[in-house]
């Protein structure tokens, strides 16, 4: 199997297309190079098996001559290494083109990653309450985690914090957010399950004899859930067992 080059020079673009089409349709050849020379002359270089190239060039000549256009052809069978190297050069040119394309793709992918990055950023922003200046968001990210871990279930707190941030000065809101979890934890110890349980009316309170068997914590709990108990919140926490029992006695009377 002998390899060959086919070289063809044609004047005019239409004739080049006609020639190329004829060559492609006639034989199995590859177009290696196309160059626009000065004066409207176009140079084509094809490669393939020597017989294929011969038939292809014949077909091209015929197609172009039919259009009464100047054509010059040459077939080189078993091209010398030097000419091969010239083709190599062309190949390197095409390689460079590919590199350019690669670069373009890289820049593309870069921009895509940028976009992705932006998207992740925007997602982050979405995770945090929206419509806030970036600095505040950063602050919140820095300071938010410890607050959250302190407050454990901090959904309400974050909400309040967000409200504060929306209202304006962040430093104030941050103080609040620091204070809030403290209050929250305090409140949890002070009024456990206060909101969840309904108040006991006086008629539903267990008798004093039963209360005598209760410890101080149970009594405090009972005091908190009792309707119209004389003292509230912190006072109940401060009150000792005897005081609580006294209060219950006054109620029950």
């Amino acid at each position: 199997m002998e390899m060959a080059f086919g070289l063809i020079e044609i004047k005019g673009f239409a004739a080049v297309i006609a020639a190329a089409d004829a060559m492609f349709k006639t034989a199995d050849i590859k177009l290696m190079n196309k160059e626009y020379l000065s004066g409207g002359t176009v140079f084509l270089q094809i490669e393939g098996e020597s017989v294929s190239v011969q038939y292809a060039i014949e077909a091209a000549e015929e197609a172009v001559k039919r259009m009464s256009i100047f054509v010059n052809t040459r077939i080189i069978i078993n091209p010398a290494a030097v000419i091969n190297s010239s083709t190599e050069k062309e190949k390197t040119i095409s390689c460079e083109e590919e590199k350019e394309q690669d670069n373009q793709e890289k820049t593309k992918s870069k921009s895509e990653t940028l976009i992705l990055h932006e998207e992740t950023e925007s997602i982050d922003e979405k995770a945090i309450p929206q419509e806030k200046p970036e600095k505040e968001i950063e602050k919140e990210i820095e300071q938010g985690n410890p607050i959250n871990s302190d407050a454990e279930n901090s959904g309400e707190i974050i909400y309040k914090e967000t409200e504060a941030v929306k209202d304006g000065s962040f430093s104030e809101s941050y103080k609040k957010s620091v204070e809030l979890p403290l209050k929250e934890t305090e409140r949890d110890t002070l009024f456990p399950e206060e909101s969840s349980e309904e108040k006991l009316s006086i008629s539903n309170i267990p008798p004093i004899e039963e209360m005598d068997n209760m410890n101080v914590h149970e009594l405090r709990h009972l005091a908190r859930i009792t309707e119209n108990f004389p003292i509230f919140g912190r006072d109940i926490s401060k009150a000792n067992r005897k005081e609580l029992l006294d209060y219950f006695r006054t109620i029950l009377k």
Partner: protein, 92 residues
């Protein structure tokens, strides 16, 4: 997608090429897919469409180009080879 017929009108000078393109577009339902300037004043306009449309358009276009300037060549390929497309200027 089916392969559409290819039509090329080549003129010497841009003005007659534009005249030819205009006439072609007015004559038949074809698409103007590009132009190629290869130097030496040679300008080609490339159209695609049905074989009949392309043939009619190129005939009218060639006539217009001959009147306004120098017509170099007219080419109609009813079904261009896949590899031939690589020689044509890319769309857009």
């Amino acid at each position: 997608m089916t392969i559409e017929a290819l039509g090329i009108i080549e003129t010497k000078g841009l003005a007659s090429a534009i005249e030819a393109a205009d006439t072609m577009l007015k004559t038949a339902d074809i698409k103007l897919t590009g132009k190629e300037i290869i130097g030496g004043g040679y300008v080609s306009v490339i159209i695609r469409g049905d074989v009949g449309s392309v043939k009619a358009a190129t005939e009218a276009g060639a006539e217009a180009a001959r009147k306004t300037g120098e017509l170099v060549s007219v080419l109609v390929i009813p079904r261009p080879h896949h590899d031939t497309e690589s020689l044509l200027p890319k769309k857009g």
